[in-house]
């Protein structure tokens, strides 16, 4: 085997400074990594490494922090959407989810909202199942609202 590179760099490698340890890595790669993230900034932050690097550090900190926020936000949105989807069929979200878990139907909020948007009929069948189950338990009569005089979208079918 022939190690050409060692012979080529031999004169620079074994100088006084680098005797006994490996040479420092080239700064070019690290700096180019930062410049790749600095293109979107304005003014001197875009072109000067020391100024842009600070902004990049802060941006990375923000992005790490917001990964947790995103999960929280998505969950809030799914809850809101599922609540709306359940109200359309005249059932509360908590009752719906609890009756599904009791019947060993392991669907989470995300999947249920996707169903309610893209497959409204299969979502409707799930709600009818939950409602039927509630009636079979016999607690529905006690919890029924005693409203009268107003027709709503759900009541029209009865």
């Amino acid at each position: 085997m022939v190690f050409l590179s060692i012979f080529r760099n031999a004169s620079t490698m074994y100088t006084r400074k680098t005797v006994g340890r490996c040479p420092k890595p080239d700064k070019y790669w690290k700096r180019s990594m930062y410049f790749r993230m600095m293109w979107k900034y304005y003014g001197r932050r875009q072109h000067i490494y020391s100024l842009g690097a600070r902004t990049v550090h802060r941006a990375l900190r923000y992005s790490t922090h917001s990964t947790g926020l995103k999960k929280k936000y998505m969950r809030e949105m799914w809850t809101m959407r599922l609540g709306a989807a359940c109200n359309q069929h005249g059932i509360e979200e908590e009752e719906f989810l609890s009756s599904l878990t009791e019947a060993n139907i392991p669907l989470n909020r995300k999947v249920l909202t996707d169903l309610s948007i893209y497959e409204p009929r299969s979502f409707q069948s799930l709600t009818t199942f939950a409602k039927q189950r509630k009636e079979e338990n016999g607690l529905s009569d006690a919890l029924k609202p005693t409203f009268s005089g107003i027709l709503t979208h759900g009541d029209k079918k009865k």
Partner: protein
């Protein structure tokens, strides 16, 4: 068609809802109305997608408030100049404009951002049930009221009052003397 299951035109269109505000709490009914204005009642809701519906509120003149809130609840206003602060109690504001209390209740419910004016534009308030036919023609559904409209004593017939179950009858000397009612002119039925 393969995509029939995804065709949901009524979700995408702006539907018109009717809400009867007679004897309803203004603040709690605003909470419900805002959901329809923003589109939170649809499973495709996202704050940046403009999918809210129109809501027509009738009988805002007959809106109700709890306890003595008509007297105690105040609406502040500041002109921006020194000494420019003033406040009006709810009953006074309601006297000036019978749709104002409902308008403010809804307005304060919505987050203060650039979407708010456009959301408010979809709210149509009427002091009584005289709604123009152009608007009435659009309405397709009704929002359920938040509370039961109480029946007044005047609305019960004499027969119902007499048949109301009593535990005992008051002796005559304990009862208030009845006021003499003016004689009703009896018209001849032809």
């Amino acid at each position: 068609m393969a995509y029939n299951r995804v065709l949901q035109w009524s979700v995408m269109t702006r539907t018109w809802w009717l809400y009867d505000a007679e004897n309803q709490c203004a603040f709690r009914s605003a909470k419900k109305i805002v959901n329809y204005l923003q589109g939170k009642h649809k499973p495709i809701y996202h704050p940046l997608s403009d999918i809210g519906d129109h809501v027509v509120v009738i009988n805002t003149k007959l809106v109700a408030m709890r306890d003595d809130r008509w007297r105690k609840f105040t609406y502040p206003h500041h002109t921006g100049y020194a000494g420019g602060f003033s406040r009006a109690s709810a009953w006074r504001l309601h006297d000036m404009d019978p749709t104002k209390v409902m308008h403010k209740a809804v307005y304060q419910r919505i987050k203060g951002n650039l979407l708010r004016p456009n959301i408010m534009r979809r709210l149509h308030l009427f002091p009584d049930d005289n709604v123009p036919d152009e608007i009435m023609a659009n309405i397709s559904d009704q929002i359920q009221q938040i509370q039961i409209v109480p029946k007044r004593l005047e609305d019960y017939s004499q027969l119902e009052k007499e048949n109301f179950p009593q535990i005992f009858e008051w002796p005559e000397k304990e009862m208030m003397p009845k006021k003499k009612q003016p004689e009703v002119l009896q018209t001849e039925e032809t």
